[in-house]
Symmetry: C2
């Protein structure tokens, strides 16, 4: 594979990721939630059993201070709440509120809607293959903005 092709791959990858992200965010906004893309990735970490601020920061690849600011924002908008941590009095467990869960479901719906247009072009099997291939090469590190 030529060098220029590798750069082209990067470009389409970024373009696809960027478009998908934006369409999901638009869909979430259209469903009446005040959100930005980072929320979604925070939600996926908070969803199962909650997380501490530091854990959230690690998941998003930002400092704990930045994560703390994000949490403050989520709390202010009613998507999450701080609870005392059951095992560590220094820490707080950040969990989703009911509205936070609603917003998460809205994001999933919006994502499904956006992906549907890809299915229309490539077919379901190819999209599934795409996801499987990407999951094999995607890093397991933090989710970060692409630049």
């Amino acid at each position: 594979m030529q060098n220029s092709e590798a750069l082209a791959l990067t470009a389409v990858l970024l373009a696809a990721a960027g478009e998908l992200t934006q369409r999901i965010n638009d869909g979430v906004l259209a469903r009446g939630f005040e959100a930005r893309p980072a929320y979604g990735f925070a939600f996926t970490r908070l969803a199962p059993d909650g997380a501490t601020v530091t854990e959230l920061g690690a998941h998003l690849g930002v400092t704990k201070q930045a994560a703390s600011q994000l949490v403050e924002e989520l709390v202010r908008k009613g998507y999450a709440e701080r609870r005392p941590h059951p095992e560590d009095a220094r820490a707080r467990l950040i969990v989703l509120t009911e509205r936070g869960w609603e917003c998460t479901r809205a994001a999933e719906e919006a994502a499904a809607e956006a992906v549907r247009s890809w299915v229309a072009v490539l077919g379901e099997g190819q999209v599934r293959l795409l996801r499987d291939q990407l999951s094999r090469i995607a890093p397991h590190g933090p989710i970060r903005p692409a630049w």
Copy 2:
């Protein structure tokens, strides 16, 4: 495809795009260029015959003011230069300098290097397929940060 799978696709897509972008940037830095990811996407627009500030802004999906600041940065670092536009005295044609071309080639090499690790996992054919599939669904609009 379930809603949650669609969100998972978005996550791996972003993770892959983000990692690739960062590895390319690291590779470019390692080759002795002072750069950030946005440069690469600016270069691809400037490369063939140059472009105006406004055109560059449209390509990157930012305002012409932001594009103007980026150009100022590229000029200051020696990657590009402003020339009078041959057909419009209001405009300036921004073209790459020799060092700008070198940086572009460095980015291509770094990209090829990063993609090579994917080829090692998926095989060349699958990576090529990946690129082809993505290019069919990637928007033809501006290249923007994923969030």
